[in-house]
Amino acid sequence: MTSELIYICAGSGLVGLAFYRLATCRDMLLRVLSLNVLAVGIAILFLASARDAGMTDAVPQAFVLTGIVVLVAVTAALLALAEQIDRQRDE
C-alpha cells in the first residue's frame, strides 16, 4: 500500500498545482498546459486506486487510456482556437 500512497500524493499534488495555476493565470497556453497536468494527475489517482494485491485492474487502465486520447483531441482543439484568436488580433 505504501507505494500507492506515494503515487496518490503525487497525483493529488498535480491536481492541486494545476488548480492553482488555472485559478491564477490568464495566458491561454498555460491554461491548456495546466488542464493537461490536471488530467495527468487524475490518471495517476485513478490507476493508483486500481491496484489490488499487486495486480492492476484492466478496466480503469482502459478508462485512463481513453482519457488520454480524448485529452489530446481537446488540447488540439483548444490550441487551434487560441491560435485563431491570436491571428485575428493581428488583423
Binding site: T2, D27, V37, I44, T75, A76
Partner: protein, 299 residues
C-alpha cells in the same frame, strides 16, 4: 530500494510539473511538461499499467508536447497579469486543501474493485488475451466508439477554426537524417504494437500515436510536404475510422442481434480488423490535428 525509487519518481513528477507551471518561459515550461509526462509514464509502469504508460509517453507527453510547442511558436505571449498576492495565497490554500482531501479520499477509499474478477472470468470469450484490449474493444467497445467520435469532432472543430491555408511548420534539412532512422522504426513499431496488442501491452491507440509521430517527423523534416491532396487523403482515412467502426457496430447487431457482440468464434478477427483500421485512422487524425487541414475550396 523500490520504495526509494517510487519516492524519487513521485517527487520528480511533482517537481517537474511545478517547474513547468511555475516558469514564465514557454518553451521551458513545455519542456518541463514533456519531462513530467515521461516521468508519469514511468510511474504508470510502476503502477502496473504498461499500456497506459505507452500511451502517456507517445500521446500525453510526445504529441501534446509537440502541439504545445507548435502553438508556442505561433502564439504571441499574452500580457501577463499577475493576480494580487492575497488572491494567490487564498487559491494556494484552497489548492493545498484540495490536494490533501483528494489524497485522503483516494487513500481511504475501500476499493473493492469488481472488475478484475469479471475480466479474468470472461477474458477467454473476448477473443484477445490482453485484458486492456479486451476491455477497449470488446467489453466496453461502446466507449471506444464514442472516443473515436471525440477525435472526429475535434478534427472538424480544428478544421472550422483553422485558417483557410495552414502554414506547415518545417524544420528542414536538419531533420532528414533523424527522419531516415525514426520513420521506418516508427512504422515497424506501430505494426508490432498493433499486432501484439492482442496479447501483451500495446494496441491501436499507441500504434496510431507512434505512426502519427513518424509521419509528423516526415513532415517537419520537409520530407513529405503536406500538399492539399495529401491532406485530403489523410482526411479521408481519418474520417473512415468512425464510419467503419460505426458500420461494424451496426453489422454486428445485424449478424448477432446485439450491438457490438462479435459473431461466435470470430471475435479475434473482428477486433484485429477494427484495430488495424483504427490505427491508420487514429494516426491520420492525430497528424491532421497537428498540422491542420485546408478547408474545402469554395467551389
Amino acid at each position: 530500494m523500490s520504495l526509494a525509487f517510487d519516492v524519487l519518481l513521485a517527487f520528480g513528477v511533482v517537481f517537474t510539473a511545478a517547474a513547468a507551471l511555475g516558469t514564465h518561459d514557454r518553451v521551458a515550461s513545455i519542456a518541463g511538461f514533456v519531462v513530467t509526462g515521461l516521468l508519469v509514464a514511468l510511474s504508470l509502469v510502476r503502477l502496473g499499467a504498461p499500456d497506459v504508460a505507452l500511451a502517456e509517453a507517445a500521446i500525453g507527453a510526445g504529441l501534446t508536447g509537440a502541439l504545445l510547442l507548435r502553438s508556442a511558436w505561433r502564439l504571441k505571449p499574452a500580457e501577463s497579469r499577475v493576480s494580487p498576492p492575497i488572491d494567490r495565497i487564498i487559491v494556494a490554500l484552497i489548492a493545498v486543501c484540495l490536494s490533501g482531501a483528494l489524497a485522503w479520499a483516494v487513500y481511504t477509499a475501500p476499493g473493492a474493485a469488481l472488475y478484475p474478477a469479471l475480466v479474468s472470468e470472461r477474458l477467454a470469450e473476448s477473443g484477445v488475451t490482453n485484458p486492456v484490449t479486451a476491455v477497449l474493444l470488446n467489453f466496453r467497445a461502446w466507449d471506444t466508439l464514442l472516443e473515436i467520435a471525440v477525435l472526429f469532432v475535434a478534427l472538424i472543430l480544428v478544421r472550422i477554426v483553422a485558417p483557410a491555408h495552414p502554414q506547415p511548420v518545417v524544420l528542414g534539412e536538419l531533420m532528414l537524417p533523424f527522419a531516415r532512422i525514426v520513420v521506418p522504426m516508427c512504422a515497424f513499431l506501430a505494426g508490432h504494437l498493433l499486432w501484439q496488442g492482442a496479447s501483451v501491452p500495446g494496441g491501436a491507440f499507441q500504434a496510431g500515436a507512434i505512426l502519427a509521430g513518424g509521419s509528423l517527423v516526415l513532415m517537419l523534416g520537409g520530407f513529405a510536404v503536406p500538399t492539399p491532396r495529401l491532406l485530403s487523403w489523410g482526411m479521408m482515412v481519418a474520417l473512415l475510422g468512425l464510419a467503419v467502426f460505426a458500420v461494424a457496430a451496426l453489422s454486428t447487431e445485424a449478424l448477432t442481434g446485439t450491438l457490438l457482440l462479435y459473431p461466435d468464434g470470430a471475435a479475434k478477427i473482428w477486433i484485429l480488423m477494427i484495430e488495424a483500421l483504427l490505427t491508420l485512422s487514429i494516426a491520420a487524425m492525430l497528424c491532421l490535428l497537428f498540422c491542420g487541414m485546408p478547408r474545402r475550396p469554395l467551389k
